[in-house]
């Protein structure tokens, strides 16, 4: 799966399941955590989705804006862990 495909899968999931706005487009560089777009309760959902979909684990201590804050950063984290 390419980085672009990962980003588009993540974007769709976040818009539909977390934000509950299926039509919403999320920019690859848009801040997700620091902006408050994804609240702390939804971070768990995102981590579970990433593990189930891409087989990449994100530890709970990594669920913060320092580890990833945009789809690009999250996708590269996923790529590095799938290898």
């Amino acid at each position: 799966m390419t980085t672009e495909e990962i980003i588009s899968t993540l974007s769709k999931q976040i818009a539909e399941k977390i934000l509950k706005q299926p039509g919403r487009a999320i920019g690859a560089e848009e801040p997700l955590i620091s902006s408050g777009l994804i609240d702390s309760f939804s971070l768990m959902d995102l981590a579970l989705f990433v593990e189930d979909t891409f087989g990449a684990r994100i530890e709970d201590t990594e669920l913060n804006a320092n580890t990833f804050d945009s789809l690009t950063q999250l996708a590269s984290l996923i790529q590095s862990r799938r290898a």
Binding site: K20, G23, S34, S35, G36, L37, F41, L43, T61
Partner: protein, 559 residues
């Protein structure tokens, strides 16, 4: 033992090296703290407050994260005879500007003499202080070292039982301007009565992740264990929400017996914990997991039980409680020897006629008991005219006890409104059945989101700061989400434009602005054209009527 400091001294003298609490932080080893260490840390803060000329009886505001400093500063204020109050710490989501505005709201009414915070946060706090501020000293927690215990330097020992012991605020501008003031007597009356109801004993270990600025965390998950001498395992809410499995590992590791959770946490834990995080976990020591602080749902208990039964959770460990800061904490508690009673009743009769009628119909409503009143609490249900109602009729819940608040701090107006003929008006609806309380709704517009009280007027006021939104044309309300087991915030905002793209743009701006300024993530934001919002004859928005209209549209659209 009539005041906090006397009780703390007695516990220490009785067993100085007993572990009072164990602090857990993600990525760090557990940090046990003995009663002696707790008081040494507190001594450092108590003497600092004296040196800074803070007087006993004055309010000390604590802006600290979960950790040693918060524990030391809290009890330091107590030993000094001052009145501690914990303010939620800034989260990464909340804008610093809004945090300062919230802090100003609290300062303007509560008028603390001192604030304790971290060096890195001092700038933000200073920026919120007005020229005529009541705050005379800002204490930086890092600079305060523990000192040798010396009870002759504890003005707190000379406090009187009816003096205010602590303040407890709920969140948002409205909540921060209404600090619940509790006396030493009220707190001890609650703790004694609740300990008796729980049959608290020397084998009990309390495990909590609840925030200490909330009554459930502060009383059940902090003062109850620390003032009754029961060991406490305390983790941070910030860590828990990212790793909910840690609660179960801690219960297993420390043979935890008692835990309090808001209803949403039952769903959250049942849905989001991986089995690999529960390997080797044994929950058989857990004698009560008590559901409290938002409406209790039987379906949430059932999901939690199914998930954790294989790890030794007993079904009769699942309990309920109805509590509020104004009564210190617990009002009712389900009988720990049994299980909370569950009834199925006719939906129409309950909602419209306010009568409880048993029903086996498919669309019947399942209601779960919150238990019987504590021995020191009296409850009655009244109709709109204030007349007493018999059992199985729904009305407002009124209560009377020997552990009520002294008042809303510096708010005699709000205190007076809260009582009628010596009864506290809870603003919640419910009914009694065989002496047990069933809570079914709220008269007040207050929302409870993930256990946190949220005032709709605070969210509405935020929307007016967004370009294109006019004051008085927003409505906020809570919508219950079955899957999450809690309410979610919804906002309807009326704008001049009928253009959909323009409305979508405004909706996005509102989401960002409200989330950043309230730390509440909005689930539904509906931007509508003129004439959508229903107003009352006085021109105010009618929250209930607009909610009904919104839910109807949602239902029709999903068909």
């Amino acid at each position: 033992m009539s005041v906090f400091s006397q009780k703390l001294l007695a516990l220490y003298q009785n067993a100085p090296n007993q572990i009072a609490l164990t602090l857990q932080k993600a990525g760090q080893a557990d940090a046990p703290m003995t009663r002696a260490q707790l008081l040494q840390g507190a001594q450092g803060f108590a003497q600092t407050l004296a040196e800074k000329n803070v007087q006993p009886g004055e309010v000390v505001l604590l802006i600290l994260q979960h950790g040693e400093a918060l524990v030391y500063a809290y009890f330091g204020a107590v030993l000094h005879g001052a009145v501690p109050s914990i303010m939620p710490f800034l989260t990464e989501k909340l804008s610093p500007e809004r945090y300062r505005a919230d802090l100003s709201a609290l300062l303007s009414i509560t008028k603390p003499a001192a604030i304790v915070t971290y060096a890195e946060f001092a700038g933000d706090v200073n920026a919120a202080l007005q020229a005529d501020s009541s705050v005379r000293t800002l204490i930086l927690a890092e600079a305060i070292a523990p000192r040798a215990i010396d009870a002759s330097l504890w003005p707190g020992l000379a406090r009187q039982p009816d003096d205010v012991a602590l303040l407890q605020h709920s969140s948002g501008t409205t909540g921060l301007q209404k600090g619940v003031a509790l006396s030493h007597r009220a707190v001890f009356n609650q703790l004694n009565s609740y300990a008796q109801t729980l049959k608290l004993n020397e084998k009990d270990v309390i495990v909590s992740w609840l925030p200490l600025y909330h009554d459930m965390g502060l009383i059940a998950g902090f003062l109850l264990p620390l003032l009754c001498g029961a060991p406490l395992i305390l983790m941070s809410p910030f860590d828990w929400v990212r790793a909910p499995y840690r609660l179960f590992q801690s219960v297993s590791q420390y043979q935890g017996t008692l835990t309090w959770l808001p209803n949403f946490a039952y769903n959250f834990c049942a849905q989001k914990i991986r089995d690999r995080h529960l390997e080797g976990v044994d929950l058989s020591s857990w004698r009560a997991v008590i559901n409290c602080s938002e409406p209790v749902r039987h379906a949430s208990h059932a999901a939690f039980y199914q998930k954790f039964k294989p790890y030794g959770l007993r079904e009769n460990s699942l309990h309920t409680c109805y509590a509020m800061a104004e009564n210190v904490f617990a009002v009712t508690q389900s009988n720990l020897a049994g299980q909370p009673r569950v009834e199925r009743c006719e939906r129409e009769a309950l909602m419209n006629e306010r009568i409880v009628r048993e029903s086996a119909a498919e669309n019947a409503i399942t209601v779960m008991s919150s238990g019987a009143p504590l021995p020191n609490v009296e409850i009655k249900i009244v109709d709109e005219q204030g007349s007493d109602l018999p059992e199985r009729l729904v009305g407002e819940i009124l209560l009377k006890s020997d552990c009520m608040l002294s008042g809303y701090y510096n708010r005699p107006d709000a205190t007076q409104q809260a009582f009628r003929d010596g009864w506290y008006l809870t603003g919640d609806y419910g009914f009694l059945s065989a002496g047990e309380l069933f809570v079914i709704g709220r008269k007040k517009d207050l929302m409870i989101i993930g256990g946190k009280n949220v005032y709709p007027q605070d969210l509405e006021a935020l929307t007016y700061e967004v370009a294109g939104v006019h004051a008085g044309r927003s409505v906020a309300f809570g919508v219950f989400d079955e899957e999450q087991g809690t309410e979610e915030a919804a906002l309807i905002v009326e704008v001049d434009s009928e253009d959909e793209a323009e409305q979508q743009k405004i909706a996005d701006l509102i989401r960002q602005h409200v989330t950043k300024n309230s730390a509440i993530a909005l689930r539904h934001v509906k931007v509508v054209g003129p004439q959508w919002v229903i107003k009352t004859s006085s021109g105010k928005t009618a929250r209930a009527a607009n909610k009904e209209k919104f839910l109807l549209e949602l239902k029709n659209n999903s068909r």
